[in-house]
Amino acid sequence: MQKPTVRRRAALVVFLEFVAIFAAGLLVLEVCMNVAGVADEEFLDIEPVTGWTHMPGRSYTYRTEGYAQSVINSHGMRDKERTLAKPADTYRIAVMGCSMTEGTQVPIRDNFCSLLEDKLNASMSGRKIEVLNFGVSAYSLGQEYMRLKHLALKFKPDLVIFTARPNSLLYMGHDPKQGFFNARPIFGIAGDGSLIEDRNFQKHWLASSEGQRKQATRWLRYHSRLWGVIGKSSAQITLFKEECQNKLGSLTARRPEIPEKPVQAPQSAAAAKPVDSAGNQQSLNSAQMYLGKVAEALVKASNAASKNAGSKFILVYLPSTLKQRDLNEQKIFSEIASNLSLPFLDMNPQFDLLEKRDHKPLYFRTHFSKEGHEQVAESLYAKLRGCM
């Protein structure tokens, strides 16, 4: 029989061997993942003003839809490196938007902002044109407004293109299920029609365990691909949990009762969820009407901020696949432009035509393909030639 101390020492040696080999394996894996460009899709960082922004200097490979290797510039934009000071004799266009504008599914050179810049530079002699891409994944109109005010206008743009993505209104509310997305500020309107900035949900989320964890692991998220694997796994686990909850919910939940009268328009965007927890669709129109008013206030504020900085302003409603299309929302944005007398471009009719007539693959699943970006650039170019 071995003495207990000898056994303990042997166990310790075995344990240390395990740790050493595991650590060496992880190191090799980190290198291999780096070479292959995997597990680095986490490129967003928490930021107090807008909720989140790109990680400056981060390089990543995106494969979920399409394929692109990208490097975020030093200002936290998915764009080539730009100087804050506007070069002499340069006309600057700032494009505000969400993932549709960010275009992480295609290389930066194939993004509609880059293509538009090339087209304008090729056609306009004498003046240099810069088209700056301020699009960030999952941004709401409120976040676009904050990014415009706190970052884009510092670049002294001559023109601001304020894009609204399909289902923009859905992104303006608060949804406790959405985790990281609760870092976004929520906007509403007061009784006198003025814009209210609500940071309560953001503060609450930042103080939550998930929020704390995101902040504490900032360095790892920036630098470690192994951490990316953990992020990837936890996203899968979250999806799985939701799937289980939905399955269990559908087994146990009672069929929701549909109210006879339409629900009153909610007073805060935070409460204005187009679909309530019971899946009740009856409140959709009233919620949309309210969120439409908030959207109008945000566009108005963005236009005012741009005007104050000496920039022109255009509202663009980006196209979407028919599956995602919301005709009410399309109408709301057209009315906003008309109420505020803004130049407006709705790209949906043109995209529909191209898809039906030419069978062009303009989208991957949700976002623009290379052909889609080319078409957006083409439409914007046609519109801008008259405005500039």
Partner: protein, 488 residues
Amino acid sequence: MLFNSLNYFLFLPLVFVLYWATRGTTRKFILCLASYVFYMSWMPVYGILIFAMTAFNYFAGLFIERNRKNDFLFYFVICANLAALAYYKYTAFFIATVFDALRQVAHFVPSLQVQQTPVVEIVLPLGISFFTFEFIHYIVDVRKGDRPLRNGLDFTLFAAFFPSQLAGPIKRFQQFSIQLDEEKALKPEDTVAGLALISQGLFKKIALADNLAPITAQGISNVHQLGTLDAWLMMTAFLLQIYFDFSGYTDIGTGSARLLGFHLPVNFNLPWIASKNFVDFWRRWHISLSSWLRDYVFIPLGGSRRGQFINYRNILVTFGLSGLWHGAAWQFVIWGFIHGFLIIATHEQEKLIQKVRFLQKIHEHRLAIPLACAGTFVVSLFAWTFFFAHSASDALTVVHSMIIPANGESNLAEKLLQSPFLVSFTMYSVYGLLFVDVPWSNWSDRTRAIRAAFEQQPARQLACIACAFIAAIAFSPALTVPFIYFQF
């Protein structure tokens, strides 16, 4: 429930704990229940089908034992099993073939009015091809004189055992029942070996096969735009994909069985790098199916001892049926026949080598085996087009693109470079060089010391297994791809 799903990785530890926490009949009952939960999580109603077929074959086995000379009973049971398989797998194919034939006849008989082929929507029960073959093997062996399983729970478990239920390996009841009767104890070496197989299988499936899937899918959906390079690339990708997919599935199944103390038959033995010819290939690829076809089709037809003509006829029939088993479409039958002819060609080649001294000398050269393996792989690239393509004409288009030099528009090479496959494949190759014996290479002699160092200490193996799990997740694509062999 898929082996590469999160559900399975919650299900398996739960079964593992419950299994080892119990003994005797309770343990078997838990395993049986788990197997039915596993199967019915996909489509509950088909649980009744597998149970009904199990009950039928259980009682049939007992009857046949008492009436071994009753041919009618025996053939009735075999036909009943085949009828179930035919109904679910071949009804649509049969109806389409009949209507196609009638349409051909209508060209010559103008008065014959042929309606549109009716749409038959029968969902193929997962694994039916596999468990039907296990039932047939059981019935045939009982008739030959083996003792049937008297314990109904044992037989139910043989039919439903979840690690091999959906895509094999096709088990033999004699070996399985011995393992069922053993009083098992949880052994660390079984657990480590099981985990190693599972991590290896998961890596093969999600880090290798699934990263090739978009390349092959893009290629096959644009067969008419394929250039020569694209066609070769697509077929190479497909052969690797199907191997990693199916052997990955088998590894996870075999590893899961090993965690529960069971040893399942080996199904793959380096088919793409160690097959010297097509006879050798079918001893290394889907071994449990090949041996089943040998024992229950080829030998009953007369085998190889009744003259060359009968032997070759039997080879062609066996491989034709093998093709039809793989898929209810003519291109699979053609694929089967091509393999039959390649086997015959191999036999003829061997005879020729024995006769011609010069060929014997070439055959004995040290490079002969690696070159023969490479040759087998290249011929496979052509033969498997019929397995991969949606139709025989698509397969011929691919073959044409492979032979006649042309430029294409598919850019599969670019897609391959964008995928993380090349890095994951390099990682797998390094692992292979260190831990796998390749018959024609003496490289493994040099790595023996490394292998021994890992084999001595399970903790070292566990550390590597943990890294393999992480690597599999890291290199997996965003979209899950179903196992290819599920459709069979």
